[in-house]
Symmetry: C2
Subunit: 236 residues, 2 copies
DNA sequence: CGCCAACTTGATGGCTGTCAAGTCAGGTGG
DNA sequence: CCACCTGACTTGACAGCCATCAAGTTGGCG
């Protein structure tokens, strides 16, 4: 844990994160709340299913996955998170986390003590409303994943996944067409409800079709329209 | 629309709904906010994807489904909702609803104007916290559906679905083992990522195995342990 | 340099989708 | 009151997508 001054005011992710829309005065009050950061090494847990819930976390740098485990060992990756996104919202419900959060690369998060966030959002309407929007956005995102898992075929799922990543990298100022995957094929597969071999085969077919260039985790998107077209095919 | 006094104070669903945990004084203040109700006939929309968001809705009686449509016509049912549950949380994010909400039987909902709910939850900490819990619970529920869609086989999905319904009926004072489905096989299938024929076959197999008795939409659970056991089988 | 995890590719099989035909139940109108 | 009609459901046959099993390749790291 490290402590910081001006956590949010100086953060270049603030437009993607909790401080969105706050005035300078309000930002300062949020800064008083976000006083500690945590560094997480690759492979380490930010929190585990079953652990007590006290804070939510804003990703300052790095990349995470969240997953749920069934008693029999089956794993479902529920999401991949990057800078500016919030982690831990699942814990509010029961005061315990219900999923695991694992860093897929060396990362740093801002710790946001939840009860203090609630206090502050009782005082700052903008903050309150934006927080509600963030939670709602997560629900909408989850509906998109259900759609993906419930109705799409393997190649559609992977195309949707790549387009989603591309879009989020763009929003953070990175290339939309050239990026490194932080997760393994198995983790992609778990997220998409597929086996790693199926993911690998789909990558290969995309490459053969000239839609992307794959070199292990290095992805270059060559034909965005081609990927988008893949998603409008009905299940035959 | 009808107007009411003492909307929540007299409602027997209040322990399952938004008023949970409020004092009598606080309940009265919530009652001032929940002043109108809406009756929805079977098959009618409570709201549609794309329509403006102004309020969330608490189900006073009846049964709903929510679904998302893809441009090419594919439908994903994202949930089935019953008394005491909140509808419309998806709309907070963008000020527009992102899914459709359809009554599966004649229903009645309490209209909760959202901006007024935010105002009140800035004043009543208990309400604020409980609302956050409800949103978080929805996120956790969605993760459960992802797990179901991503890792479970057809019979496991249907068993999980029946057990979930049973549990929710129990919480509302109905029989856990004898109930009527409000949705069609096709809607169940959409929710579970299966085709209606597969749902129908799974029902038949459950019946042959003596786990349930099916007569169209009338379901009797004969062997809960048998259903639960179905869910612990690894994908072969 | 060697080891290991991650990945790719091929062969095969099974679960579930698809297509088709038939059954059932509820509602309407004569 | 009953015949008819329609939507919902069931059941069977078959096929295809993806999982499984297996073997080989690549790249990173000690």
């Amino acid at each position: 844990m490290t402590s910081v001054k001006r956590a949010c005011g100086n953060c270049n992710l603030r437009e993607l994160c909790l401080p969105y829309g706050l005035s300078n005065d309000e930002l300062e009050r949020l800064d008083e709340l976000v006083t500690s950061r945590r560094k997480i090494k690759q492979g380490e847990f930010l929190y585990r299913a079953g652990s007590g819930f006290e804070a939510i976390y804003a990703i300052r740098s790095g990349f995470f996955k969240t997953d749920v485990l069934l008693e029999d060992g089956r794993e479902q990756v529920t999401g991949f998170q990057m800078g500016g996104e919030l982690l831990g919202l699942d814990g509010i419900s029961t005061e315990f986390h219900t999923c695991n959060s694992v860093a897929l690369e060396a990362s740093e998060v801002c710790v946001i003590p939840f009860s203090r966030l609630e206090t502050l959002s009782r005082e700052i309407q903008t903050l309150q409303h934006h927080f509600h929007k963030v939670m709602s956005r997560e629900i909408v995102r989850d509906h998109g994943v259900m759609m993906l898992l419930g109705t799409m075929r393997a190649e559609e799922r992977l195309a949707a996944f790549l387009l989603n990543l591309s879009q989020r990298f763009t929003a953070r100022g990175y290339s939309h067409a050239d990026f490194y995957l932080r997760m393994t094929r198995e983790e992609i597969g778990s997220y998409l409800g597929l086996k790693l071999e199926t993911v690998s085969r789909a990558f290969s077919r995309f490459q053969e079709a000239g839609h992307i260039a794959v070199q292990q985790k290095h992805i270059r998107i060559l034909n965005i329209a081609g990927l988008k077209a893949l998603m409008s095919h009905q299940r035959v």
